[in-house]
Symmetry: C2
Subunit: 422 residues, 2 copies
């Protein structure tokens, strides 16, 4: 008989099987692991589904401006990789990542190749770090509010999150001492630059104090850094891992640095990385090998090509210019349209800002009328721990154009005003 | 000051920081989670590192023949995706996978889009399934020997593996009843077609019996199916999920089917999938969202293009032809060179076979002299549970050419003969 092509074989024997149909039911609810109960659907995801369905001005996602993606350069890079690297660009490769890309990242952070692991986006980096260091009941300090997907990644591990207060200058490091009891936290997770969702940046003084605190108490710092290249004003501040450089050189560093190409190239490639002490990298490699063997060989080569052939160096200033304009458009629109009693962050970079409405307003209840007006945002409550932030909303300004930002904020302001006067 | 391009900021403030260097040490060994102790480095990985270092004939990996990758077609597909799909091919996308690819896979298995999740290779599918259904102490039936990376993925969950005996016809289903005590296993993992490492195929009778057993006891079956398209003789058998079709249609099926493009297109794209009851898919989506947000949008589009534009339909027969020749070359070389007392499987397809030497030979001890003769294999012991298989070796025949296969088996036979006569 001729062999079929395609991946299903369902026609091969037709119905000539003799399956006893008397016990056909499987109740999947009885089968799930305990951790699965701690896996939750994110509000953002649900909002994004709605926004994908119709013409809407969305401040909800964290999407880069796709119209700025240099498609021709990506196309050229893909062709060039296949021509110069050949078949091995499509073959299995090392779990750690391809040597060239690890070396390029190592060079950026003045570390060795052994200190770098390539991951399938920075989300995987966060997941692997959690898996390697966090047991059920372990405590992790996070900013409140913090990055939602970090909570999603670590919650199924049974981690206890300890919210650290954060103001316009980022995590309030002088209040961390009080969080050491009853049990020393294993790590501190934060986004020092242009935090998601607040838009805040940790000051130089706090960076130094944080590192000293972490060293003193042997607590790991997970430094999540998706946005540092997207600075629109002010001078860059050193990464925590840069301040930790001497200790990193002898693998005694406390900082685990997480980065990504998603905001400086394209998220659809799913290339992120971890820079850390090599003993920890070794453990992360074991976890990653079990998780997905390795990150796409092809995409790693394409990303390296784009990072080294000048494409990324041309793209970043264009992104900065465009996003700066969009941020300014949003700040101007908020100023023009939002009612008294509302306030908002004025971030130095990144792609988000958090707005705060009068205490009486619940932004989760604001969402349905906003969607009715064809404008979307993410309620701030979910980013917070301990039920704070019910009157906040996260606004993304990287994806919509300045014109849409103005129109969208105007629409949103009408909904906000109605809620404020209700 | 001018903003720097590139991703490190270490020069910004130079050494003008005031870090107290008195507490610089971090002992990472004190920080790891319990599960990290259960993460182990695989022997295959170590062997592959050696084989990558020098000219060696390797039967060790599970690599497809990279010289058969249609590079020009991939290059064309990448260009076409960027032209026709545009920027969204490089943007964030849904955790479930892109609609077109999910529909294509759903069509192959006569299920709905809701029954399909796209994963970052089939390894991620196995990892996610474990995370969603297996608690510490849960029991999972596996063939002995079984796929090594399944053990790596599930061992950190604290799973107890129950080895089921397997012969030349695959898992001995009539002996499963005895494995139900002291506690019902949650799932049965197996590779029905051309198993790794044995090369065996589960018979039709056993497929039906296995499904009835699983239904009767409400045990999930994880059907790992990387190789079914690589059949070189005999008629295809129905997948377990095909036999489970009626129950799958009402989401009462017990079979979780795992597939991949790695063996029929290219592993470097890292595209796999799960086909299962939609309630389970929903949970796997939550786990995947936390694990890596989604699989590369770009690679999903490229794979869909290659799967639907005729490229894969042309490639699969070429792979079958080439691998059939390589399998025949290996069987002929084993016959010609291996000593009496050695035996080996004669698989109907796939990319591996297991050879068995006299009981007195320990194949782990055989590896160093083999590498000295520039030939590599993987000792079979690690695939087995309960310390069996010390006299077995796994041989891959998809990667080396027929000429190299003959030369390599001849070299290996010399090493084997010396060990047998020692």
């Amino acid at each position: 008989m001729p062999q079929r092509h395609g991946l299903g074989n369902q026609e091969v024997l037709g119905n000539q099987t003799e399956i006893d149909q008397s016990n056909p039911t499987m109740n999947w609810n009885n089968l799930y692991a305990k951790r699965t109960r701690w896996m939750t659907r994110s509000a953002i995801r649900e909002v994004l589904k709605v926004t994908a369905q119709r013409e809407i001005i969305s401040f909800a996602g964290g999407l880069p401006a796709a119209d700025l993606f240099p498609l021709d350069r990506v196309s050229e890079a893909a062709t060039r990789v296949l021509k110069t690297i050949g078949p091995s660009a499509l073959q299995y490769s090392q779990t750690e990542g391809i040597g060239g890309l690890r070396d390029w990242i190592a060079g950026k952070f003045n570390v060795q190749r052994e200190n770098v692991l390539i991951t399938s986006g920075s989300q995987q980096a966060l997941d692997l770090i959690g898996r390697v260091i966090l047991d059920e009941g372990d405590r992790a300090i996070v900013e409140s509010p913090t990055y939602l997907a970090l909570l999603s990644a670590w919650r199924p591990l049974g981690v206890e999150f300890i919210p650290a207060p954060a103001d316009a200058d980022g995590m309030q490091v002088d209040q961390l001492e009080a969080l050491l009891q009853p049990q020393r936290p294993k790590c501190i997770y934060l986004t020092p630059n242009f935090q998601n969702p607040q838009g805040t940046t940790l000051t130089q003084e706090r960076r130094i104090a944080l590192l000293e605190f972490a060293r003193k108490h042997s607590i790991a710092i997970v430094e999540d850094n998706p946005y540092s290249e997207l600075r629109y004003r002010g001078a860059s501040l050193p990464h925590l891992i840069d301040l930790d450089a001497d200790a990193q050189a002898t693998n005694d560093g406390v900082v685990i640095h997480v980065g990504t190409f998603s905001k400086v190239l394209m998220p659809g490639l799913r290339i992120g990385w971890v820079v850390a002490a090599s003993p920890l990298i070794d453990k992360l490699v074991l976890a990653k090998q079990a998780a997905d063997l390795h990150t796409s060989t092809f995409n790693q080569h394409v990303a390296l090509e784009l990072a080294t052939n000048g494409c990324m160096d041309e793209l970043i200033p264009r992104l900065r210019q465009a996003y700066r304009e969009r941020l300014e458009a949003m700040l101007a629109a908020l100023e023009a349209h939002f009612p008294r009693g509302a306030s908002w962050m004025r971030p130095d970079g990144g792609i988000f800002l958090l707005a705060t409405l009068p205490k009486s307003v619940n932004t989760t209840e604001l969402l349905p009328p906003a969607l009715e007006q064809n404008v979307a945002f993410v309620p701030g409550e979910e980013f917070h721990l301990n039920g704070e932030g019910r009157n906040t909303l996260r606004l993304n300004f990287s994806n919509p154009t300045p014109g849409k930002i103005n129109a969208g904020i105007e629409r949103l302001a009408e909904v906000v005003k109605r809620a404020c006067s209700a």
